[in-house]
Amino acid sequence: MSRSFHQPSLSAPGAPSPDVAAEELCRGWYEAHGVAVYNYFRFHVPLQDVAEDLTAETFLKLVRAADQFDSAKGSARVWILTIARNVLGDWHRRARLRQYVSLGAMHDLVCQAPSPEERLLREEEVGRLLDAVATLGAADRELIGLRYGSELDTAEMAHALGISEGSVRTRLWRALGRLRGVLAR
């Protein structure tokens, strides 16, 4: 199989082969940030399968772009979420050509409910919240996805979005106010 993995730092003499190094890089990043990326997508897309696919797409891109990461410019998580946002944008453009049917189950929801009935109620509650989020504008959804999906703090969100921390707070609270309005209808 032909390979064209571009990461000069991984091809130094004595270093592991690019395949192995890339795999280790992917493993490390996925273990550290995979759940955050997945949850970011889950706040934006209704299907577990799609969120998994977008997460995989993000990490495949990350591995190929590894030599572009500069820790002096920000944390790995913010950089990874920036790529995830691009992947999501691509998906929105492609999704216009496809039809997705939600089966209504959230098998991937973390839930400590002791009984199936309580779990079902919890799934309905979360579904109602995320359905309401989906009715918001793209900018509001982005803020909510970054804060509650990927759990970025205000400073990280400001870096990812290229705005001040004060603007992040203001916009986020406004978005939540609009979300509260949707839920109250």
């Binding site: 199989m1 032909s2 064209s4 993995f5 395949d19 192995v20 890339a22 795999e23 992917c26 493993r27 996925y30 273990e31 995979g34 759940v35 997945y38 949850n39 889950r42 706040f43 577990q48 399968d49 969120a51 998994e52 696919d53 997460t55 995989a56 797409e57 990490f59 495949l60 891109k61 591995v63 190929r64 691009n86 992947v87 691509d90 453009r93 492609r94 496809r98 039809q99 049917v101 959230m106 991937d108 929801l109 973390v110 509650e125 979360v126 919240l129 995320l130 909510i144 804060r147 509650y148 970025l152 703090d153 205000t154 707070r169 609270w173 939540l176 106010g177 979300l179 509260r180 839920l183």
Partner: protein
């Protein structure tokens, strides 16, 4: 994440509700991803913007015209797709993979379900083949009790280039696979009341 104290009081309940939502990706996603990286699989890349599409159509038309003059470009007739790792035999471990040989985006010619014994996240010598079939979906045991179905959607299982294929496996836990098939999700009849996915 910082800052419950930052939240305006009237939004604190909503903030708490949203913070309480967590999803967990399936445990096999990490190993599957590592396998894809190891095999040198590329991300699909950005979708072309609408603005450059007219120019690309022109290029495509020129290429088609060239191909007509020079003869049809040769593409491999069959593609080999290897996806790992899931729990396809009911054993409780996400250590099974599916190996598909198909005409590109067409009929499946061979399909195998294997247990990834060496943890390579792909088919390799020494892996245990649990099930193998040819071009037609078939079941190798009398239908009866104790059968379970497993379904995964959607990935590119037939080499067509789009993640629009589903994998359907029927097994008898903990280690028996009796049927496996691929289906294409976008080829539904618009007039059908419910989606129908022909098995391949």
């Amino acid at each position: 994440m910082s800052g419950e104290e930052e939240v305006p009081r009237e939004l604190s309940d909503l903030n708490r509700s949203l913070r309480g939502i967590r999803f967990e990706p399936r445990s096999s996603l990490g190993p599957e991803l590592r396998g894809r990286v190891r095999r040198g699989e590329r991300a699909k890349g950005a979708v072309t913007s609408r603005r450059v599409r007219p120019a690309l159509w022109g290029v495509a038309a020129a290429l088609v015209a060239s191909a007509a003059l020079l003869g049809t470009p040769h593409l491999p007739a069959d593609v080999r797709v290897d996806r790992c790792c899931y729990d396809l035999d009911g054993g409780g471990e996400a250590d099974d993979g599916v190996l598909v040989v198909a005409g590109r985006d067409e009929q499946v010619r061979r399909l195998s379900i294997y247990e990834d014994r060496d943890g390579s996240a792909g088919y390799s010598l020494g892996d245990l083949v649990r099930f193998e079939r040819g071009a037609e979906p078939m079941i190798d045991v009398p239908l009866g009790l104790d059968l379970e179905t497993y379904q995964f959607c959607c990935l590119d299982y037939d080499g067509g280039g789009f993640d629009d294929d589903g994998l359907l496996v029927v097994g008898r836990p903990p280690d028996r696979v009796v049927m496996a098939a691929i289906y294409e999700t976008h080829r539904t009849e618009a007039s059908a009341p419910l989606p129908r996915f022909p098995l391949r």
